[in-house]
């Protein structure tokens, strides 16, 4: 079964989404990440969407769910590399990303997670 790979880097989990995800794959990713946060005792999750040219309400909900579950498990989530067209579309769609910080790239995202700059 296809899965999106999750990399462990110290106490961070890194996910780079590079495929056009169908809904089932997104659900699998959500479950896999949550399982890994517990298993690896992760303190931070970095989701790299720089290759995604589309974020619809289902993917948006997946991101919100991941952030919420991570928070319950005492981990922070950073979303990295959102494309401008995606940002514009999300606003018009009316979708708000909750509990999720954003960063321009992976380096900045990792810095944010390491500094623990979350309230």
């Amino acid at each position: 079964m296809e899965r999106i790979p999750i990399l462990k880097m110290g106490q961070l989990l890194l996910v780079t989404i590079q495929v056009d995800m169908h809904d089932r794959l997104a659900m699998t990713l959500q479950d896999d990440l949550t399982t890994r946060i517990v298993k690896d005792r992760a303190k931070g999750v970095l989701i790299d969407i720089s290759a995604l040219d589309l974020v619809d309400s289902f993917i948006g909900r997946m991101i919100n769910n991941i952030a919420a579950m991570a928070k319950i498990l005492d981990a922070d989530t950073v979303l990295v590399g959102m494309q401008p067209a995606v940002a514009i579309t999300l606003v018009e769609l009316g979708l708000t990303l909750e509990g999720v910080k954003t960063a321009l790239n992976v380096e900045r995202g990792m810095t944010m997670l390491k500094l623990g700059s979350f309230s």
Binding site: M21, H22, L54, S57, Q83, P84, A85, I88, T89, L93
Partner: protein
Amino acid sequence: MIGNDIDVKVVPLRADEDVVRMRQTLRECLVSIGFSLIEQTKMITAASELGRNTLRYGGGGEAHIEKVTDGGRRGVILSFIDQGPGIADVNLALTDGYTTGNGMGLGLGGARRLADDFELITAPGQGTTVRIAKWKLF
């Protein structure tokens, strides 16, 4: 009168992967018309929402991707058609946040905001057709 080119692609929507295929087919179509990246993203996002609705709430159906030349403009008309239960209360369905499933309730209203034209034909027991269009002026 300039002749009408009939250019319609029909994509069945029976499984999650079909929605992905529909998005990709639509992307090719939008690129060929010359839409900007932002216009493409808005339209494909709207299509993704509607395609998902057809699958989840309509029991499956099909998408029609039609390239159109209409006088001084070129564009695409998308139709999402199912023979499902139909929508009982259209105004409620169009309200942001309203969902009969697990969704965020942004699909119909969002698609309407993201497209240029929006049309909804539905009735309880009569299935649902949602049609959206985007136009490029010459």
